[in-house]
């Protein structure tokens, strides 16, 4: 096998697969030389080393992973002027999705509240429905919820992941991973076979910001990983939005602090579209809540149910709190709560109750 049989992308993938060569080193190596030359200089041009290149190349093509390098036809335009653009990009799905539409990153904590999950899914679906690509990291929590909402809702979703594309991480999201690859693109800076290591997440967050026109933080703790994405966005002049949350909720500390720092508030997909300067786009009016099938009677029945309903608020309350507030015994209280839940007026999870 001669070097002539292998494209330059194969050498780029092979260089990225050398454990000692990190993203920055790779960028330096490929700044001056084409990948095949850089390979020959760093690893030797022997027959054995070329066989390694062929093996790595086959691994990527077999797994359906496209290798993109700057100058490639499908190299995303957004990365063209980026100061820390990756030297090589791996992609499953359609690379054209990376440039097809305006992009909005929806990011946040891996341990969200139900509020955060609901908002992320709603924003994902609404934005996707208005023709905006949702960019996220396929992590548990907010990332996953955003893509769950976005898949199949319209525009092609984009996922930016930290590890190799042949090894879905976290495992729980393998299905979602496939769906994103089918209707959009999953990209990574890591070649196939690379395990997801800790240091790759901040690197991934930088790429995620670089591929987005707007970054929205849905829920995040004070020192959460979303901070890396926001910093990278700020460094690139990308507008950052945040979903306001309760001042008592630890998972809203991040977005609330961002709002105080000047991020624009995101209360609906419309706010994001405004930020995208896309006001002309057709905006589906986001329904308040998920519009549950309300029963014919509008409110709670007077008496016990009303008393319990009035004791409920948007913040979750424990049964102990509610017994104290209503003075009812537990049977009567629970009965009223279940009736309210059946009427779609209240919801209880794990013993905590709130108004819908």
């Amino acid at each position: 096998m001669t070097p002539g049989h292998l494209p330059e992308e194969a050498y780029a993938a092979a260089l990225a697969s050398v454990p000692a060569i990190g993203p920055a080193t790779l960028r330096g190596l490929l700044a001056s030389d084409p990948p095949s030359v850089a390979w020959a200089r760093s690893r030797g041009a022997t027959e054995g080393s070329v066989r390694d290149v062929a093996r790595i190349w086959a691994r990527h093509t077999d797994a359906g992973i496209a290798v993109l390098v700057p100058g490639h036809a499908s190299w995303p335009a957004r990365l063209a002027g980026d100061p820390q653009a990756p030297a090589v990009l791996f992609c499953r799905g359609d690379p054209a999705a990376l440039d097809a539409a305006p992009t909005v990153a929806l990011v946040g904590t891996r341990a969200p509240t139900r509020y955060g999950i609901g908002v992320a899914a709603q924003l994902g679906a609404d934005l996707s429905g208005s023709g905006v690509s949702v960019v996220s990291g396929l992590a548990l929590g907010i990332d996953g919820a955003a893509h769950e909402g976005a898949c199949g809702a319209g525009a092609s979703p984009i996922a930016v992941v930290a590890g190799g594309l042949d090894d879905p991480y976290p495992r729980r999201h393998s299905r979602l991973w496939e769906r994103v690859a089918e209707c959009g693109a999953v990209v990574s800076e890591s070649p196939a076979g690379v395990r997801t290591e800790k240091w790759r997440f901040p690197v991934r967050n930088r790429l995620l910001a670089a591929l987005s026109d707007v970054v929205v933080v849905v829920e995040s703790r004070h020192h959460g990983g979303s901070r890396h994405t926001v910093d990278a966005a700020a460094a690139r002049g990308i507008p950052v939005g945040a979903v306001p949350g309760s001042i008592r909720s630890a998972t809203s500390e991040g977005p609330n602090a961002l709002l105080a720092d000047g991020a624009f508030p995101v209360c609906s997909a419309g706010d994001v579209l405004v930020a995208l300067a896309l006001e002309g786009a057709q905006v589906p009016v986001p329904a308040p809540g998920r519009a549950p099938s309300r029963p014919s009677r509008a409110g709670p029945a007077p008496g016990t149910d009303l008393r319990v309903y009035e004791a409920l608020s948007q913040d979750p309350a424990s049964l102990d709190d509610l017994t104290r507030a209503t003075g009812l015994d537990l049977s009567a209280l629970c009965g009223a709560l279940e009736r309210l839940a059946l009427a779609g007026l209240a919801i209880g999870v794990g013993g905590w109750w709130e108004r819908v």
């Binding site: 891996r110 341990a111 969200p112 509240t113 139900r114 955060g116 548990l140 929590g141 829920e219 703790r221 909720s249 630890a250 998972t251 979750p316 424990s318 049964l319 102990d320 709190d321 017994t323 104290r324 537990l330 049977s331 009567a332 629970c334 009965g335 709560l337 279940e338 009736r339 059946l342 209880g348 999870v349 794990g350 013993g351 905590w352």
Partner: protein
């Protein structure tokens, strides 16, 4: 073997004395045969003795000499029959000494007829306590039993007036020779009924409406309870108050509890009989053997057996070794634990009420979603320690939160244990009545129509599994019993569902 030599007056003499040894929580009758013959002076014990029995040689010799009785300067062989089973413990000291005195001619063979002996000897000739006296007394029936004076009341629980006591070997020898009467056992100390009043009272718990109610339901319906809550939410405090809500033990239950404690060598209450439900709280570092019982071949009941007819409290459930928790599944089903060892299989009673407590996650704050600072992976790891089958054994999984500071400081005491216990007793009475007349009615009309549709809705939405449905129905039945109602209403089912809501916080 030894034939009469004619020249010597003494050739050999044989004595057999009845006794018993402990195997698990039951006694086995043992016949102690003592053979004294001419030959080099020596003392051998055969018949599978354990180390404690082998050491009896030295104790018996010293005790006989200290009591002013002669030691035969001949060859002494002791056989413990049946020879095939292992004998353990020091309780065989006394029958060996008595057999020796008979074989040496110090006591007449007739004076030990119809009597069995159990007791450990001190070097000064005093008789000492042996564990498992109830089981031993059972094993030697119908013979009369002679035990250390302090053990008389314990043995008399099952044998009545057939039990005699003695304080020393010398005293016993005098009585057997007809030179005195059996001494009276010591009277129980006047503060014998401390058990009922020693348990902590529920009135000391402030707030915690859900936790208190859960205890009431658990006590009334004999349901197993798992409390999930952050540190400082009062899980241990609540659990300790559960025995105070349970009805006092019935005579049979009391005897079972006392028997197990006796076999484990635990100190018995002054009245010798446990009349209050026991409360056992083994630490999470306890070994499996300590929990379920065992030991090499002197099998000993474990914590779960000591908790029988009472409460087994496992604090920090997630920290117990997984194997130990899985070992609880059989006793939870059957009320009995079977321990098998090379020496044989022993069944211990283990009909306990399981109360467990755990934090929702390693940081302890995860009862309410979003408050937790653990990584998803560490949460998942923590939850995986409680297997789904084990979690299914809990009828109630109650989420607890820290009490409101105002309520803590308000100083108004909660409802006292006695008031709750009265409701529990009434509810149990209703349940028992219903069980007696259960032939005709069936389950159908018991459940109100709206309650049934609520359960159906929960089943359809996947909030409830088939097994969960069964558990919720049982708990709802208990709630209705506590309310004194025949029909299970919507509110009762709702409450049963709420008392299970903590599953969401711990189910993997």
């Amino acid at each position: 073997m030894s034939h009469p030599a004619g020249a010597r007056p003494f050739t050999h003499m044989l004595a057999a004395v009845a006794s018993a040894t402990l195997s698990g929580a039951v006694g086995r009758a043992v016949s102690v045969e003592v053979h004294v013959s001419n030959g080099l002076p020596g003392f051998t014990i055969v018949g599978l003795p354990d180390a404690a029995v082998r050491e009896a040689r030295d104790r018996v010799r010293a005790a006989v000499l200290s009591s002013g009785l002669p030691w035969p300067l001949r060859r002494v062989t002791v056989n413990l029959a049946p020879s095939g089973i292992r004998k353990g413990g020091a309780g065989l000291d006394l029958p060996i000494a008595v057999g020796l005195l008979v074989a040496a001619g110090e006591l007449s063979p007739t004076c030990t007829e119809g009597l069995a002996f159990c007791g450990e000897l001190g070097l000064n000739g005093s008789l000492r306590h042996v564990p498992g006296m109830i089981a031993l007394a059972d094993a030697v029936a119908p013979l009369g039993l002679v035990v250390p004076l302090g053990d008389v009341r314990e043995a008399a629980l099952v044998r009545g007036s057939d039990v005699h006591g003695a304080a020393t070997l010398g005293e016993l020898a005098r009585v057997l020779r007809g030179q005195g009467d059996w001494p009276d056992p010591p009277a129980p100390s006047p503060s014998a009924d401390h058990g009922a009043h020693g348990a902590p009272d529920l009135a000391e718990v402030r707030g915690q409406a859900v936790g208190r109610r859960a205890l009431e339901v658990v006590a009334a319906g004999r349901h197993h309870l798992l409390m999930v809550g952050p540190p400082g939410s009062g899980k241990t405090m609540l659990a300790e108050r559960l025995p105070g809500l349970l009805p006092p033990l019935t005579p049979e239950e009391a005897l079972t509890v006392t028997r197990v404690h006796s076999a484990a060598g635990c100190a018995l209450p002054d009245g010798a009989l446990f009349d209050q439900p026991p409360f056992r709280a083994p630490h999470h570092r306890a070994s499996i053997v300590a929990l379920v019982g065992g030991g090499s071949w002197s099998l000993r009941p474990g914590e779960i057996s000591l908790a029988t007819h009472g409460v087994l409290f496992l604090d920090e459930l997630g920290e117990f070794p997984v194997a130990a928790l899985e070992a609880l599944r059989q006793p939870l089903e059957e009320g009995v634990i079977r321990v098998s060892r090379a020496g044989g299989t022993v069944a211990f009673p283990a009909a306990f009420l399981l109360v467990a407590a755990m934090n929702p996650c390693p940081c302890g704050e995860g009862v309410y979603e979003g408050a937790c600072t653990c990584s998803p992976a560490s949460r998942a790891r923590y939850r995986r320690r409680i297997s789904a089958p084990l979690l299914d054994r809990f009828d109630l999984v109650v989420p607890l939160s820290r009490p409101d500071p105002d309520e803590l400081l308000a100083g108004t005491p909660g409802e006292p244990s006695a008031a709750v216990a009265a409701r529990v007793a009434a509810a149990r009475g209703r349940a028992a009545e219903r069980a007696q007349s259960a032939s005709g009615a069936g389950e159908g009309p018991e459940l109100a129509a709206d309650a049934e549709s609520l359960l159906a809705a929960k089943l359809r939405s996947g909030d409830l599994s088939a097994r969960g449905l069964h558990k919720v129905s049982r708990v709802a039945r208990t709630v209705a019993d506590l309310a004194g109602e025949d029909q299970v209403s919507f509110a009762h089912v709702s409450e049963a569902l709420s008392l299970r809501a903590g599953r969401a916080a711990v189910a993997a």
